[in-house]
Symmetry: C2
Subunit: 131 residues, 2 copies
DNA sequence: TCTTGACTTAAAGTATACTTGAGGATTTAT
DNA sequence: ATAAATCCTCAAGTATACTTTAAGTCAAGA
């Protein structure tokens, strides 16, 4: 089990120290050891948890849901159904997000084509395209 | 050019009235006419703009960037390069989001499989799978 | 040893995007 | 005619997720 300073963790995840303080304060990061002088000592469990936090955050999960996940995970046997449900729901959410993004990307790309048409028309002093 | 009450618009876009008030207050919706008694009268330009606002919001664009887009659009000729740049940048952003979501979806699906394995192990009183 | 950089706490502040509440006016349906 | 629905303004409040500030302690290199 390796040890890490707050700087090492902050650098690894490109997070400011304050965010790590904050995550600890709200209970998202737990059991952070301290050196004799009171400095935080992180370990591989925190690495593990931060990997999950980053993944969940990247996919738009709220901090309160992320916390719920870890709470369930701490007593996995009695919450296995909730955990599976949470993960399956989140999988669906991601799927919906991807679908929406793909659809909206079409709109944006259409706008790009439209505005490029306008640019050409401006440059050549010809008629503007219709949208 | 059709006219719409705030209720019609709110229903169409499934937004509370307050959000439409807010969008007007911050200048995202402009030139909203009023009836004699002071009630808002929206028209097809607002429909058009709201379609774009919803699209931009769905793809994670900030309100300040959405405002910037409409500001540029109001004097398209002198801002055509900025508009194209904004849209192309946004297209890239969406592309990145999709990539990230697809990658993270793998992680979530792996978790689902893992926890389902655990559920089975609990039910059959057998050994837990490794992650 | 001294200075610089890393770290601490606790409270207050910030950014974004709305939402709610109070109090009143108007419109529509019965 | 009256009740219910819809709308108005403006200020204050809320939720989420941090960030900043202040004032100080600790550790490591020159």
């Amino acid at each position: 089990m390796n040890n890490y300073s707050i700087k090492e963790i902050a650098d690894k995840y490109k997070l400011p120290h304050s965010t790590l303080h904050y995550y600890e304060e709200i209970g998202l990061l737990e059991n952070v050891d301290r050196s004799e002088s009171g400095r935080r000592i992180y370990n591989d469990c925190h690495i593990c948890r931060l990997d999950a936090i980053i993944c969940f955050k990247n996919t738009g999960m709220s901090i309160s849901d992320i916390k719920k996940f870890f709470t369930y995970e701490q007593d996995l046997e009695s919450h296995i159904d909730e955990i599976i449900h949470l993960m399956e729901k989140h999988d669906e959410t991601i799927q919906k997000q991807i679908k929406l993004l793909l659809a909206e990307q079409e709109h944006i790309q259409r706008k790009v084509r439209y505005y490029k048409g306008i640019k050409k028309a401006i440059e050549n002093n010809t008629q503007w395209p219709s949208y």
